[in-house]
Every structure is written in C-alpha cells, then in structure tokens.
C-alpha cells in the first residue's frame, strides 16, 4: 500500500506541497496559487462566464484531493479501459490513472527515441523538470479564478506531452482517468488533473483524454476540476478530444486553453455526457499569423444535469481563422447555457470567424440558453454566428417511423445525427465512433430507465 498522501483542503493550515517529492520551484508555484486561492471568491452567477451557473451548492472546504500514484511497470490495463482501447484501435501510447492504484503508462519506443515525452505529471516533474518549468513554474496569475488556483495548487493527476520539432505522430495518444471513490476510500473526493501539451515547430499530434467518475451512492459531492494547457508552435498541429462522463454527484469544472503560433492549427472536440453541474471553458488564442482553430462541442444532458460552456476565440494576429460548432441535446429537466465570445484585435485583419450553437430540447423540462458575444476592433474581418433552440423536427421523426423505427429509435438516430455532423469535424475517425457509441449508450440507457419508470407509474 502506498503512503497515505490525502490532504484536506479545508483549512488555511493545509499545505499543498506536503509529502510531495517535487522540485522547489514547483512547490513555490503551488504555494503561490494556494495563497491566491484563499483570497479569491467562488465565482457567482454575476461573474463573467458563470451566468445562470450556480455552483454555490459545492462546498470546497469539504473536499479532499484523491490519491493518485506514479506508474509502475507491474500495472496492467484496467478492465474498464479495454472496450475503449478496442474501439480506438491503433494508438501510440496510453496513460491510465485511477485513484488509489498505480498508473499504467506505455509509449511506443520509436517515439521515445525521437524525443517524444508522454507521461503522468508527477513523472514529468521528476524527470523533465527542464521542459515543464517554463509552463508550470510561472508565478500565480492574478486573473486566475478560484478553480484555476485550486488546480494549480493541488493538482493530483494529469499528464505531460511533448512533441519535438518536426515529429509527426500518426496514431493518437490516449489518456484515461477514473475516480473509483469506493476503493480510494474517500467520501468527498477531488480529482484535479493538470494537462500540459507542447507541440514544437512543425509537429503533429492527437491526444484523446477521457475522464469518468461513475455514479456512486456513497458520494454526496465530488469535484473534477481540470486545467488543460496546449501550446502549439509554428506550423504545428494538435488535435485534442476530451470526453467526460460523470454520475449525478459530480461537479466538473474544466478550463482548456490553447495558444497558437504562426500557421499553427488546432482541432478540438469536447464531449460532455453527464454530471451534476458541468462547466467548461475553452479558450483559443490565435497569436500567430495564419493560425486556425476548429472547435467542436457535444453535450448530452439528462435528468437534472446542468451544463455551462464558454468558448473564447481571441484573434490576435492577421489572417487567422476560427470555426466553433457547439451542440447540445437535453432530455428530461436538464439545462444548458452556452456563451460564445469572438474577440478580434485591431491587428487581426482578415480574420475569418464563425460560431454556431444548436440546441435540441428533448425533455419537457429542458432549457437551453445561448449568448453570442462579438468584440471586434479590426475593420477587415468576416465574422458571423448563429444559434437555434428547439425540439426535434417531427417531420424527421415521422419519416423514420414510416420506415418502421419506433418513436424512441427515431429520436435516438436523429439526436446521434445531430451530434455526428459536428463530430465529423474532428480528424480522427475511430475517436468519433467511440464518442458516438458513448452518446448512443447514454440515450439508450436513459430511454430504458424512463420506460421502466412510466411502466411503474401505470401500475
């Protein structure tokens, strides 16, 4: 059994660096962010990006950072990952992090020989300090909000991916994180991943990252808060997929940031398939001329789940392009709010930006809001946005039913199709199929539940 490293974040006497074997600079950075954390307020519904997103039910003081452990050679692939590995077929490396057990890590030796680094964050701090210090050792940012400070001070899992100049990795790198609350023996756990991706000049890489925390009766509240930083150097390309599936006890707050240099490109797909309150912010900084971003999001809500997503596109250089496609389908009484901001700097002439947000209301209590925001300072730009909110098209349902599909099957197919059109923008086909089947499972499982329920009510 590994040494018990659980620490409470409850009081000021807590020290996030205690019992961590890390470089001094990292400890200092953790402590600085911890100071900031203690002096910042929990975001309220009047704060930027938190409209109609009430997180006051989450008591941070009650949470404890869950224990994760470094990889061990003896670790084996956990059974819950096997179906995903099968459907994703070829890959270049795998990292599996599960609370309470040693991590599993594998990277193609050919890539390691070329200088590619892919490992958990703890290993990165021990053996690649020189590479990560620039990013993780930075002084606390005064603009960081409560959650960012929390993650920067207490991150307990996550990964580091470094691709040297000119290296193109054809098959994706996979990261799976799971919180098994029972085996970690913690009632109110916090999973705080920190992901750092550095794609050097002219490199190419795809990272698929999934986080699951199954429904557990024993848990009152739990938190997943993640910080994902992606640095894309000149003419490099990163594809990043994040799939999260949480049970009804879990709050999730994720902050994803991508910085794009000259001619860099970024493709991202965010899939949110469950949680009590799921908040995500995806910021893209197009800082180099000719940079382009393709950002897609799919959200499937059910029961009383709440979703709140922001996308921020900052066009800071000329000839930059961004395409945002965010789609939400809401069953039962689930709700969603989407806020899309496009900022175009004075310098960023010939910006081409598009933002679309479509919402399908499937349940009678479902609600979706969409808030577009354009802040344009340049005069030669192409910028447009569109949003729709509405029920499933009954003519589509009728067409499918006229071919023998039941009303439920018809709706499933239509909703899946609704998501497929934006997932198709992600450039890794097996990943699209993998997310598609996760969506289908949620739709089907949920239909089964509601049928059982209505049968029960009739009795």
């Amino acid at each position: 059994m590994a040494e018990q490293k659980t620490v409470s974040t409850a009081t000021q006497v807590d020290d996030p660096t205690k019992r961590r074997e890390e470089p001094t600079w990292m400890k200092e950075a953790r402590l600085a962010s911890w100071e900031s954390y203690l002096s910042t307020q929990l975001p309220g519904i009047r704060d930027d990006g938190w409209h109609r997103t009430d997180i006051s039910g989450l008591n941070l003081a009650d949470l404890r950072a869950v224990d994760f452990h470094s990889p061990e050679a003896s670790a084996s692939v956990s059974p819950w990952v096997i179906p995903a590995l099968d459907s994703l077929s070829s890959h270049s490396g795998v990292l599996i992090q599960e609370a309470g057990t040693p991590a599993y890590l594998k990277l193609d030796s050919e890539l390691a020989d070329k200088g590619v680094v892919f490992c958990d964050i703890e290993t990165a701090l021990k053996t690649h300090g020189d590479k990560v210090r620039r990013y993780l050792g930075e002084p606390a940012d005064l603009n960081d909000d409560k959650f960012t400070n929390l993650i920067k001070s207490w991150f307990n899992c996550g990964l580091f991916l470094f691709v040297p100049p000119g290296v193109e990795i054809a098959n994706p790198l996979l990261s799976f994180t799971s919180v098994n609350y029972r085996s970690s023996g913690i009632a109110d756990g916090a999973v705080l991943p920190r992901l750092l991706v550095v794609a050097s000049e002219g490199s190419r890489v795809t990272l698929l990252h999934s986080v699951t925390a199954p429904l557990s009766q024993a848990v009152d509240t739990a938190l997943h808060a993640g910080l994902v930083d992606i640095h894309i150097e000149q003419a490099a390309h990163v594809s990043y997929l994040e799939l999260t599936e949480f049970g009804p006890a879990v709050y999730s707050v994720t902050n994803t940031r991508a910085w794009l240099n000259k001619d860099a490109s970024f493709t991202s797909l965010t899939a949110a398939l469950g949680g009590r309150l799921v908040k995500g912010e995806i910021s893209t900084y197009l800082n180099g001329q000719g940079a382009s971003a393709e950002v897609a999001g799919v959200v499937l809500g059910a029961d009383n789940e709440k979703y709140s997503f922001n996308t921020i596109e900052e066009h800071n250089a000329p000839d930059t392009r961004s395409n945002i496609h965010f789609r939400t389908a809401l069953k039962d009484s689930s709700t969603s709010i989407y806020q899309g901001i496009i900022r175009v700097d004075r310098e960023a002439q010939r910006t081409d930006a598009y933002q679309s947000n479509k919402n399908l209301l499937l349940g009678s209590g479902a609600k979706a809001d969409s808030i577009p925001k354009l802040e344009i300072l340049a005069d030669d730009v192409r910028c447009s946005h569109g949003a729709t909110v509405g029920p499933v098209d009954q003519e589509q349902v009728f067409y499918l039913m006229s071919r023998g599909l039941t009303a439920a099957e018809a709706e499933e197919l239509i909703v899946l199709g609704f998501f497929t059109t934006v997932m198709a923008k992600f450039d890794h086909k097996p990943a699209i199929a993998w997310v598609g089947s996760a969506i289908a499972s949620k739709l089907i499982a949920h239909d089964r539940d509601s049928r059982k329920q209505s049968a029960g009510e009739q009795k």
């Binding site: 003519e395 009728f398 099957e409």
Partner: protein, 252 residues
Amino acid sequence: MTEKEEILVIKDLHVRVDDKEILKGVSLTVRRGEIHALMGRNGSGKSTLSYTLMGHPRYKVTAGQIWYKGSDLTALAADERSRSGIYLAFQYPVAIPGVSVSNFLRAAVKSRRGTDVPVKEFRKELRNRMSSLNIKDDFLSRYINDGFSGGEKKRLEILQMELLAPDLAVLDETDSGLDIDALKTVASGINSMTGPDVAILLITHYQRLLNYITPDYVHVMQDGQIVMSGGSELAHQLEARGYDWVAPAPVV
C-alpha cells in the same frame, strides 16, 4: 377467378390538418395485386391521403374509416403501419443530417423483418439493388436525403421500398422531377415489386409514368374527394382534355 383480398378499404374518410378539413369523404377499395393511379390538381388532397394512410400525427381522421388487411388502421402509429407492410414513398423526402443512409437502411430493414440481417449479406443485397437503380456506392455513407438532388431522393425512396417489401405501397409523385432515364429506372423498380399479393397506389400528374406501368384503375381527386374513377384509358383522356373536363377548378 376468385377475387383477391381487399387489402385497403377507405370509407367516407374525412381528414383535418391544423383544423382545416382537407379530405371530405374519400372512399376507395384496393385489392392485392392491383395498381391504382390517383390523379388530380395541385392541392386536391392526394398527399393528404397518403400521409393519412401512413399515420402522420398531424393528419386527424374526423369521420369515416380505414380498413387494412381487415382491421382498423386508424389506431396504429406510423411505425406499426410500416411493420405491418404499408410503405409511403414521400413526395418530399425528409433530410436527416448526420444519419448515414447505410445505418438508416439497416435499422429500417431490421424493424420490418423483425431480425437483424447479417452485415455481409445485407451489403450484398444492397449493392445489387443499388446497381439496378443506378445508385452510386458513396450514397451509403452520405446523410439521408441531405444535399441529394431531386432524382437521387426519389431513387432512395424506391430503394427503401424494395428493401422493405411492402404489401401496400403508396407512391406519391415518385415520377416528378426525374429525367427520362431515371423515370425508366424508377418504373422498372416499381414493376419489379408488383405481383399477385402487392397492392400499389400510384399518385402522379403524368401519363408518362403510366406508359411504363399500367394501372388497373385510375381515380381523379378533386377538393378532397374522388370524383371520377375508371380504367387505364381515363389517364389518357385526362392527358388530352385536362381536369376541367372532370370538374371545374375550385375557387380558391
């Protein structure tokens, strides 16, 4: 010769759409093996009848009856009607972005046959039928009717009909918007379906389809009613003389 089963019996059917009465007393009997052509001016109610037969929830039967294979059809939902052998080729097929034709066809065939068809076998059947309908292979990975040309949509309707092998097929202007070659292809698709047990209700504006498919009966619809019925010669008379010969145009 013994009379074939009356597969469809419509009696004094009245139908409302959004509180407007469109069908005002339609009566029609169709036996297995028969081909009935239904003609009539734009807006006379032909598509309303076809949607009603398929069970579109917006089309409300306010009076009259529809009997199919001897039982009351009106209580059944569209999917139940499909599984019991009714097929409607839509005048305006609906696009469903994101849903591939191949996934859709598999789901439809599974519903109708009540069992999953092995992938390989299904692919083979599909390929054969597609090639005889001159449908390109890349159709399967495209989204249902999404960005399809008019003719491509109609061909997909025929392909589905062949796969679902209905007992009663209602074809709503499947010939509209087709070039001459496509018309021949679609007509031979329909002809290959005909047989002693299959009944077809063919809605069309043009004699040209009836050059390839000879109907046993021709009916003329006018203002929500069937106002004239006859044999295949009636279609020729309509082609030559227009609808004014049957009944004056209603005042709109």
